[in-house]
Amino acid sequence: MRLEYFLLIDRVVSLDLKAGTIVCESTVPTESPVFEGHFPRYPLLPGVMMIETMAQCAGWFLVAMNRFQRMPFLAAVRDAKFRSFVKPGKTLIAEAKRTHDGSGYAMMETTLSCEGRIVCNGTITFHVAPFPSPDFETEMRERAASIGLLGHEALADG
């Protein structure tokens, strides 16, 4: 995780396009300017970053499902629950399952777990639209490669 850059997914653990699922892994850094404010001498991963981690995990699924032709943008978060604190240095597992693939939108059930316990969960709605620019798409392909999405996508295709 690079919190300051909002790069919150370290690697894709598994991707199953047919089942509509993805699992990603991330490790919370031990130090970050984020922890200077959240909170002084009591560093915790902000809840908004837990949501964003789940959203990026689910988003990568939708990018893969749409073969890099479309980009998901956060539209709504429903029933978000923050069940436990997450401290620096912890490894997180983000999981997402597609629940609906609509016309120009999609819904994903998401969870974030730490040491086998769910620390956050919620339902996320995305607008799914064509990439606004070729450069953006290229950048996303490079990021996908860096977290290992492309290999999984190929595997999922058999």
């Binding site: 539209a75 609906h100 693939d101 609509g102 016309s103 939108y105 819904m107």
Partner: protein, 93 residues
């Protein structure tokens, strides 16, 4: 069995907290009921699920933006119900 319009009206009432008796077949979802695009995603989701269809929202939006259709054709509820009936019928063929 409730009509397509009744199902849509019930979904809108529940999703957007609009009194059911104010929703009529002549109501325009956007202009009369004040439903915005984000709320309409929730309605579209519920309609997709209720009827087992995938409303082509992107295509409709594109047609409106290109001047090939008016919003009345898709967002006046009696017309929306007719479009949904067409989609359900097409699914069964």
């Amino acid at each position: 069995m409730s009509s397509t319009f009744d199902t849509i009206a019930n979904i809108i009432a529940e999703t957007c907290d609009i009194p059911r008796d104010t929703i009529t077949p002549e109501s325009h979802a956007i202009n009369d009921l004040g439903i915005d695009s984000l709320d309409f995603l929730d309605i579209a989701f519920a309609i997709d699920k209720a009827f087992g269809i995938k409303m082509p929202l992107e295509q409709w939006t594109q047609e409106v933006n290109e001047g090939k259709a008016t919003t009345d054709q898709y967002f006046v509820l009696k017309n929306l119900a007719a479009r949904i009936d067409e989609l359900v019928a097409a699914k069964g063929t």
